[in-house]
Each structure stands twice: as C-alpha cells, then as structure tokens.
Amino acid sequence: MKPSFLEQIGEQLTRKLASSSSRRGVLGRVGTAMVAGGVFPLLPVQRARAAAGSAAPRLADVTTLSDFERRAQSSDPTKCNYWRHCAIDGVLCGCCGGGIHTCPPGTQPSPVSWIGTCRNPDDGRSYVIAYRDCCGRTTCTTSSDCECNTADREMPIYRPQTSNDIIWCFGTTSAAYHCSTAAIVGQAE
C-alpha cells in the first residue's frame, strides 16, 4: 500500500528540513504539528486524488471563467498569461535560465511551496499547481514582462498554502528569492 499523502509530506519534510539551519527548530515544531494529522481538513492535493477518476474535461464556460482563464494560453510558459500562472507572484524561472518546473543553474527548489488551482485551456481540466520558488541566489534580473502578479483563488498569509506573497524558501541554503516555477501536482477536483 502506498503511504498516505500526509505520510509522504511528513517523510519529505523530515528528510528535507533535517538539514535546515533554522534557529527555531522547524523539525520539532513540524513534528508536533504532524501528530494531529487526523484533524486537518482535506488539502487540495488530496481532493485532487479523490477526483482523479473523473477525468473527463469540463466544457469551457465563458460565463464563469475568470478574466485570467478567459485569456490564458498554453504555448509560451515564459509569459504571465500562461495558463499555469493563474496565481503566481514573482519572476518566471523560464525567463532566468530555468523552466516551468526547473530551477536556473546555481539555485535550489524549495521543498515546500504555495499552490494554485489553474484551468488548462487545452483540456478544460483544472490542475493543482505548485509554485515552487528557486532559492539561494540574488533575485533574477530580467524583462519586466517576466514579472507576474496574478491572484485567482489567492488567499491571505493566514492561509499560507495558497498565499503568494510569502517567500517560499524553507530548507534551502538560504531564503534568498531568485524566481518562481509552476509545476503540476495533479488534477484538481
């Protein structure tokens, strides 16, 4: 049997954050948080799994799409209107020597990130996107066209998992922010 999602997260965090130099003892605190896993609400990623069976695309409904979704394209991932960038805040790594799920040379992907739920115009499905920051190097300097700030379903910092103003660099050599990626985690419900 595959480990549960929360177990996966726990294992990943333990492994990834054990080398963290945080003075606050991330590991101990996260460990404390983990034991109460049963009382946590379902995360979007779990809902994604629950919904994985219903793979039929939804028809585009122009009456309910957001402005971003109506205008989104699927051909150029170095533009702010690329479909996965529906809730991104930062510089696109694809403009900086990286790619849509690739960090530029000399940087490190953060093991934790915020997530968005974005609609792919090609199949009408919504996907959970992990906006993993690439960290540990001075911010990428590139064209202003690569600096994006979108906010579909973006929440305040007290809902950090879907908040894009946070510097999501935990467990990297430093939390210096370089750029942001947009990797697919799975299909949303």
């Binding site: 130099s21 606050r24 996260v30 402005d67 001075t138 906010a151 305040p156 910092i157 050599t173 430093s174």
Partner: protein, 387 residues
C-alpha cells in the same frame, strides 16, 4: 613592496577646505566664494506630513509631504518591515540577511533608528522572521513604546515579543494556523487564523495568556484583507473582506464584534459578491486601506473588477465616514495606484498614493487635488506616523 625610484603622486584631497585670503578688490568685483566645511543634516521632530516610502527594493525613503522632498533613507529590502514609534522618536526596521549576501549564516534583526539623526542606535537579534512581501501587520508596536511584535514563519507561525527598553527579544509565542499582528490598546495583540477566527495574546508580566475567538468571517468564501486596519490607540479594528464587507471588532482577550457593513452598500450600490465575472467596485492593491482615526474616516483604493481582483491597482480613493458608514467622497487618481496612506492631521490631511508608474502622488484629502508628483521609484508600500 614599495619602490622609491621615481616620483609618485599624493592621491588625496583634504577634508578641510583651505582658507583663501582675498585681497582688497574694487567694489564692482563680486567676492570670491569661500571654502565650505562638510557637515551632516539632522531632522526636526517628525511632522504630520511625513511619509516613509518603500523605494527601489532597497530602502524606505522618508519624504516631507509638503515639499515632496526626501529627508533621509533607511535600508530595507522587499521582505523587511518598518514601524514608527508612537512618540515618533524612533523608527524600527525588521530585517533579514545572510552573512555572504545570498548565502551564508542567516541573521534577523530589529534595527532601532533615532528619528532625529537617522543613526542606527540598536540592532536587536531576532529569531527567523516570516519572510513575505512587506505587510505592515507583520511588525507592530505597543502603544506604550515598550514592546515590538514581529511575525515569524518557519513555516510554523509565531510572534516574537521584543523588549524595546532592554533592546532584546523577550519571548516567542506560537500562533499555529494564524498570522498578522493587530495590537490592542494595552498589553496584547490579536492575530487572524485560517478558519476565520482570532487568536488573542495577552501580555501578563513574564507570561502570556492566549484565547481563541469563534470564527467571525468565512475564510474560504470571502477572506479579510491582510491590510485590514487597526486604531492602535483604541485597539479597534476594521477587518475588510475581499468583497468589501467591513467587520468592526474591538480587540482584546475577548474581542467584541460590531455590526458588519458593506463598502458598496455604504455608497448606495449593491454589495459585491464572489462571482469571477461579477463586475463591481472593489477594494484592491498592495495596501488598499488607510484609516484616519481622528476624523474616523476610512480611505479605500477602489477599482472595477470581478472577484479575485484583490491585488489589482485602484483607480479611485473612496472616503467613508466610519461613524455613519456612508461614502463621503470619491477621489479620482491621476493614474492607477498600488497603495495609499493618509497623514494623521485633521487640518490639512494628505493622501500619499503609490502609483503603478512608481511615482508618488500627494493629494489633498480634503479637495482631492494633486499637490505634488514625485519620481520616487516607489513600490506599493508606505507608512505614516500615528496621530
């Protein structure tokens, strides 16, 4: 090695200007200009028309709002936070750095600058701060000037309480699932939690007492802005949601909720909903609100759009009477703005609007006219002193 085989040049100019003796001259000849000594400026007590503006992602620049001119500079990057002491005698900046620039040992400090000289007087070590694009509510001060409250996220969340008299971090309070700091009138603060509730932290000598309130807003459907406002002198907060619902709350160990009202209804319009295509006037931007506590007026950066446009620049500033919950005035901005602040005086209040063009527009809050436009290289963020 040093070599004396040929003439060398002295490569230095003196700090002391020379005295130049001017001989007797005919009256028609203008006098020779005299040498000047170098000196360093200091500042008068901070006036009501002072504004600290986040500039160039490397500093907060202090402006004189009447002249539209710079008074001085404090270093701060995008993730750093700034606060002005209630008595305006100190300016505090919470900063994070690494010993080798983008790598090395992480260090977090609360810096204390003298507001008269802008000299750094103390650099207080902190546990790792929460790093996010600037939010006023990630650094707050107690009204008696004794404590600073610094938001932490590692990613577990907490608040470090700093003793500003002793110049050291006193304790860290865990606030699991919560964030942002809204100070009470006395001895405590509240934070907003992911389920729409408040966690309230009372300072009691060497202890803290933590209480949890029931949810008062629907965080899934219509969350309140991080930039919601608090009157630090009274501990009264106005939590304002994405759609424009205003939740008045008197903060404390047991918060007291007031009557909810709507920014749109107060303007004679329908309350806005959560439809992505429901066009309505909505609050938005990096810093959409400014509460003028003495006049009890709320200034809101508004734009037309659907739901999820909570970060969109505003095209107008709407001015509300919070007492009667009515719209008093709509002020057109010269161009869209990312954030606003309003000076604390009642005689001639100014609106400081950080435009998307990176200019700062200074407007009369009374007439709505633009008084100055400054090439400030401003981001969306600014702060003003308290009344």
């Amino acid at each position: 090695m040093t070599c004396f085989s040929r003439p060398r040049y002295l490569l230095l100019a003196s700090v002391i200007g020379m005295g130049v003796s001017v001989g007797d001259m005919a009256k028609a000849i203008p006098p020779v200009l005299q040498p000047e000594q170098s000196d360093v400026a200091s500042l008068p007590p901070m006036g009501d028309h002072s504004v600290l503006v986040a500039t160039g992602e490397q500093s907060f620049t202090l402006y004189d709002g009447d002249k539209g001119r710079i008074l001085g500079t404090l270093p701060a990057e995008m993730v750093d936070n700034i606060a002005i002491a209630p008595d305006r005698k100190d300016i505090y900046v919470a900063v994070t750095m690494w010993s080798r620039g983008d790598h090395g040992t992480r260090e977090d400090f609360l810096r204390d600058y003298d507001a008269h000289t802008l000299d750094l007087t103390h650099e207080i070590e902190l546990p790792p701060r929460g790093l996010a694009v600037f939010k006023q509510q990630n650094l707050e001060l107690s009204q008696d000037g004794h404590w600073a409250f610094v938001f932490d996220m590692s990613p577990a969340t907490g608040v470090t309480v700093v003793d500003l008299h002793e110049h050291k971090a006193a304790r860290t309070v865990d606030i699991p699932g919560c964030a942002l700091i809204f100070p009470w009138a006395h001895d405590g603060f509240s934070t907003i939690c992911g389920d729409g509730s408040l966690t309230n932290v009372a300072l009691a000598g060497n202890n803290v007492n933590v209480t949890h309130s029931k949810p008062f807003f629907d965080a899934n459907r219509d969350p309140v802005f991080e930039q919601s406002q608090v009157d630090r002198k009274t501990g009264k907060a106005l939590f304002i949601s994405y759609t424009g619902q205003v939740y008045p709350v008197t903060l404390g160990a047991t918060p007291v909720m007031g009557k909810t009202w709507s920014l749109q209804a107060a303007a004679g319009q329908s309350a806005a909903g959560t439809g992505q295509q429901e066009q309505a006037w909505r609050p938005g931007g990096d810093q959409p609100f400014a509460w003028h506590e003495v006049d009890n007026r709320l200034y809101v950066l508004m734009h037309v759009g659907g739901y999820w446009t909570h970060k969109q620049e505003g095209t107008e500033v709407w001015v509300y009477d919070v007492t009667t919950q009515h719209l008093l005035q709509r002020i057109d901005l010269p161009s869209p703005a990312k954030g606003i602040t309003v000076s604390p005086d009642t005689a001639n209040p100014q609106i400081y609007a950080m435009l998307a063009s990176k200019k700062m527009a200074i407007l009369s809050a009374t007439t709505g006219q633009v008084e100055k436009t400054v090439e400030a290289k401003a981001s969306g963020i600014s702060i003003v002193p308290q009344p």
